[in-house]
Symmetry: C2
Subunit: 424 residues, 2 copies
Amino acid sequence: MIDLQPVKGTRDFFPDEMRLRNWLFDVWRRVSVQAGFEEYDTCVLEHEELYIRKAGDEISKQLYSFEDKGGRRLSLRPEMTPSLARLVLQYKKSLSFPIKWFSMPQCFRYERMTKGRRREHFQWNADIIGQPEMVAEAEILMLLISACESMGLTAKDIRVFINDRRILNSILSQISVPQEMHSAVLVIMDKRDKISTEALSKLLQDLGMSTIQVEQLNEYLSKSDLNELKKDLNDTHGIEELQNLMDLMVTAGYSNYLQFDISIVRGLSYYTGAVFEVNSPEKQHRAICGGGRYDSLLSACGGETVPAVGFGFGDVVVLDVLKELQRFPELPRTLDYTIIPFAAEQVGIALKIAAELRSQGSTVDCNFSMKKIKKTMQQANESGAKNTILLFPDELAEDKVVIRDMQLHEQKPIKITDLISSAE
Amino acid sequence: MIDLQPVKGTRDFFPDEMRLRNWLFDVWRRVSVQAGFEEYDTCVLEHEELYIRKAGDEISKQLYSFEDKGGRRLSLRPEMTPSLARLVLQYKKSLSFPIKWFSMPQCFRYERMTKGRRREHFQWNADIIGQPEMVAEAEILMLLISACESMGLTAKDIRVFINDRRILNSILSQISVPQEMHSAVLVIMDKRDKISTEALSKLLQDLGMSTIQVEQLNEYLSKSDLNELKKDLNDTHGIEELQNLMDLMVTAGYSNYLQFDISIVRGLSYYTGAVFEVNSPEKQHRAICGGGRYDSLLSACGGETVPAVGFGFGDVVVLDVLKELQRFPELPRTLDYTIIPFAAEQVGIALKIAAELRSQGSTVDCNFSMKKIKKTMQQANESGAKNTILLFPDELAEDKVVIRDMQLHEQKPIKITDLISSAE
């Protein structure tokens, strides 16, 4: 007997689960298209080199990598942004910037499984490329908030915690951490919520920071007021921009969603500006969504510098949150009609009626079980049929069928030609 | 510089290509749902053992297989049916048969690339499980024909070439090929169109068939009339069923689509009954779609015997065919509105108007380039905007904007509140 379970850390989607996934994908796609984003996709299989980064990003250590029969080193994509960078560099000359693109890729990471974290998830990605101004951040945040609102999540349920890598870099410069160490320090700082203060200090010291530097860093990271930070830092890049962004979001109608949070770092080394995460106001969950500005990823891939900002929004955490808040959508199976023949010689005519009704847009199933009427009506109910079409010999002899409204429990004979022309 | 090309044999989908793919997926999904099929999915990553079959199926030799960090032998799925069998066996007791399920998985095969064949494709799969009667075949064929019709392909453009494995087995039994060799012989016979008659004869003889048996086989395979075959064979299983199926399809309104073709074998060893392929009437292409009945796959996976019939319908060949017939759909990018501010202080109000219009279902982009009106109008045209909303200072001072119909080249001022309440 074969193993009936899916590969460890991966999921099967039975029809009930698939309706939920399609509902989520439809929300993502609808708000993206409404906001002027265009959909793209790449293959789940990429060259491994796309994910090998020198800053020691955790993601590079969690790759599903292998060699194909032609000797190529390949990986299942752990995230979408490097593929997007590859696409943009491929056709940079023919694209008209800024571009606003989105995708809903399945991404893979081989890691320990915890709540909200499997070895694969679907991750909605939306990015604006070629817009250096903070209005790109505003559009990106509006997009993800509108998705949350479409799912019934409001400013009472979620918050966008935002920071700017330039502020973190200013702090590190101010405490004399050399520039070339910044990326590596930030990757470690992103683990703050996951490991103890001692473990974190040790990692930072292993990297070359002194005890005093670590203490100074912790003091800066205890600040929650942008104006206060502005006074303390020599280099105030990022602070004013963040304040402008927050004002812009208020004008656009999104008050109460944004909150400055100096502890937001994000684990990817390519971020250069704003970084943000969405969570409940009390940060009870893993991040529902995270992203930021990465103006140098494209140049790191070998192209010129192109400003870019985007986010990844996974399917697992948000569904956990909706479930916890009891806001899961009700998505039962529905059918407009179930056609029920009662004898073998009626099968052809049942199929013909089905084909006609379907071609007019109705959803139609047939029940060929040839069971008794009580049983077939029960099956039609279970499959969510609004109407049943009963092929009784007497009516069929007059080119009629009996149509039954399953909610009203009313039935009447109808000419087949009339049924077909009146179909919803 | 990194390699900007996708992995050999795989595709990128830029927005133009993605609109085409979404159009195709929408056709597949719509006709499936209308026909009462429910969508499911599994992970692209499966246990390798799911694809290891003793009949020597070509597919088993073309796997993208590897060992994960936990020592598991995994494969990227080359086809969907084994995953479906796994799912059905997992919840067999709680499913109410027959079930009608569909999926649109990406499938991978490492093979030489030729026209219509890459190393990955998306393959619409639809299956009916638990229905032993030929009406399942009728429903499956109606579904795939309705997809073709939705794409503008009619009985003039495509034909369903159909055969039955039981007929092939009868022929093999009649010429004294032992039962246990049948599957392997059929896998070789499926290569008929791809290799020379001599090469084929050699492969069959290597398997243990005599020269006379090979000659007898070729003679049977030259027959094109079901009634003639019926007279010649001792075991006529499959022939009458195929004739009934053809009659049923005519009653259901699908004349002229089906054609008996004894050369249809299909390369998968698990088929047990009807086997079919869709192609142009002259068979100019690779099969657009192929499938059949596989009543013993579930028992081969370790469960009881469950009757099943289904097909796979790839995205590559059908798009090649549509292109050749010049029936590609026109799918330009469109937008309801492009909002154009002309000064930095208008950005917030532009975003606010955008948010309001989007929340009512319109598709809205903003142009923040702050370029001259001629340039921004040209950009709006290129992005398919039906209307532009121009934020001129004079009108804004009166809470108005100027809306311009890009087709009619007409523009007029409108109160922002009226614009928002009148949005499509």
